[in-house]
């Protein structure tokens, strides 16, 4: 991993408690520039808390974290200029149209020619047709794609995607996966959280297994697979098989 370039994200001994609930109990992690890392773990493992700290929405109790070389605690503004966050629930404005959502983001990123940016991203994510309709009328998958498109505006070097496919039907999930790959194509560092092993498998270069506020294992898929899965991970593993059946049953063509 150490090829001379500084990592996009460095986390050292990060701790966070809410009252007497120790959500993060000392997280260490390094994310290489341009890689896609999946934080894999069940609900309540601390994934979202970790992402919120990295996105400057929360302050850690102990430990340090730098994003794009900036300390999240002391250089929050520089961190914010380096990232974009797609939260657990599609962070789109339902009253506005898709085009207006994108243009608003471009304006808030202080970019010129917001219309051209909106047009380009609508086309890239296959949303041009729906672009002038209010997002309230869109499907969950379309909203998520818009959400990710909004995160790309301004080309931030680091993108956080918090459970990008939770609550989506299998078809929409595949569409969102395509959108994530689209986002990664430009060399952006992507940190995504997920409860699904197959999602991590599909998208990530490296996987970090988060459990009870710690990172139990981190490495490539092969490294992770060599480890004996913990009980909680088995539970996650059941999901894909159901889904494969569903997809097989609902597939329109054999491709």
């Amino acid at each position: 991993m150490s090829t001379g370039t500084a990592p996009a994200i460095t986390i050292r001994g990060l701790e966070k408690s809410f009252a007497d609930n120790h959500v993060l109990r000392g997280v260490d992690l390094e994310v290489a520039k341009g890689s896609i890392v999946a934080l894999l773990g069940p609900n309540g493992a601390g994934k979202t808390t970790l992402v919120r700290i990295l996105a400057t929405l929360l302050e850690a109790d102990a430990g340090t974290a730098t994003v794009n070389g900036f300390d999240v605690a002391t250089l929050a503004r520089d961190v914010r200029a380096s990232i974009s966050l797609t939260g657990q629930f599609a962070a789109v404005d339902e009253v506005l149209t898709g085009r207006e959502n994108l243009a608003l983001m471009a304006t808030l990123r202080h970019l010129p020619d917001t219309t051209a940016i909106a047009d380009r991203l609508l086309a890239l994510f296959d949303l041009t047709e729906a672009g002038n309709r209010r997002v309230a009328t869109w499907s969950g998958g379309m909203r998520r794609r818009l959400d990710i498109a909004m995160s790309l505006i301004g080309e931030p070097p680091v993108i956080f995607l918090d459970e990008p496919t939770t609550g989506l039907d299998p078809q929409s999930r595949l569409e969102v996966w395509a959108a994530v790959r689209e986002a990664a194509a430009s060399g952006t560092t992507i940190v995504l959280t997920t409860q699904y092993l197959d999602e991590a498998e599909q998208l990530a270069d490296r996987i970090a297994i988060v459990h009870e506020g710690r990172i139990l294992a981190e490495g490539t898929l092969a490294t992770i697979k060599a480890l004996k899965p913990a009980p909680r991970i088995e539970y996650v593993e059941r999901h894909p098989s159901l889904e494969e059946i569903f997809l097989a049953l609902t597939a329109k063509d054999p491709s």
Binding site: A81, L96, R109
Partner: protein
């Protein structure tokens, strides 16, 4: 304060004004209760009320305008609460935008919507026989006082919008404000009220604001009233703004 404060606020104001424009029912529903009160007080109770020298609607309108403002500001809490519930605030907060611009956008949206509701209420009052020979300056002063009062109450309404844990809690704040004009000179002169009530009525901001606006519109000398009214509004604004900003900062890093 960020270098982008103005552009960021303008962009976010455009966003929430679009919300209003796409569901203008908030402007109408803000005006409905005051209009009902106007009808009730003029056509049902007004005959038995001795207040002022001209038609009762002339006496009544300033108070009704404050009722309109009180019922309009609640939408600020509503919109801020809704925003916080959706993920969009987290997105904004993780972006390099001026921190207070989101609140300013919501506040200015309420001010614009409330001024529109006020215009509707004045329109209805005109149909009901309200007349004023007040000049441009008096009208401008009236608008200035009402805008300042709206701004102050709106910043106050930001606080429940940020702190409430349920929608009921967020919007519940505004209801009591609607009744504040009742314990003032808005509907009847304070002289007939019993001691303690009268003392409260004569020393709360609604009375000075109502009296000031009433005198402006009736072409009466406003004396120091209007300055007292403006000071109340400005003082309330400073306190509410400070409280809202403090709450906002505190709620940012939970």
């Amino acid at each position: 304060m960020s270098a982008h404060f103005v552009t960021d606020t303008r962009a976010l104001l455009g966003r929430s004004l679009r919300h209003i424009a796409r569901s203008p029912d908030t402007i109408v529903s803000t005006a409905i209760v005051p209009i009902i009160m106007l009808l009730l007080f003029v056509y049902v109770l007004g005959g038995a009320i001795r207040a002022g020298t001209g038609p009762y609607v002339n006496y009544l309108l300033p108070g009704i305008l404050l009722v309109t403002i009180a019922s309009g500001v609640g939408y600020t809490s509503y919109r801020i609460f809704l925003d916080n519930q959706s993920g969009i605030v987290e997105r904004f907060r993780s972006m390099p935008i001026a921190r207070s611009s989101l609140l300013w956008a919501h506040v200015l949206t309420t001010v614009v919507a409330t001024l529109a509701s006020l215009a509707v209420v004045v329109g209805v009052a005109l149909l009901m026989g309200f007349r004023s020979g007040a000049g441009v300056l008096a009208w401008l002063t009236t608008v200035a006082v009402l805008t300042l009062f709206t701004l102050a109450l709106t910043w106050l309404a930001v606080i429940p919008g940020l702190t409430a844990t349920s929608m009921d809690g967020a919007v519940g704040f505004a209801y009591p404000l609607v009744f504040l004009p009742f314990i003032s000179s808005a509907f009847v002169p304070t002289a007939t009220m019993p001691g303690p009530v009268r003392a409260f009525a004569e020393h709360q901001p609604v009375t000075v604001i109502v009296d000031g606006v009433r005198n402006l519109l009736a072409e009466q000398p406003v004396g120091t009233d209007i300055w007292v009214a403006l000071s109340w509004c400005a003082g309330l604004l400073v306190v509410a703004y400070g409280g809202a900003m403090l709450t906002y900062r505190h709620s940012q890093l939970r």
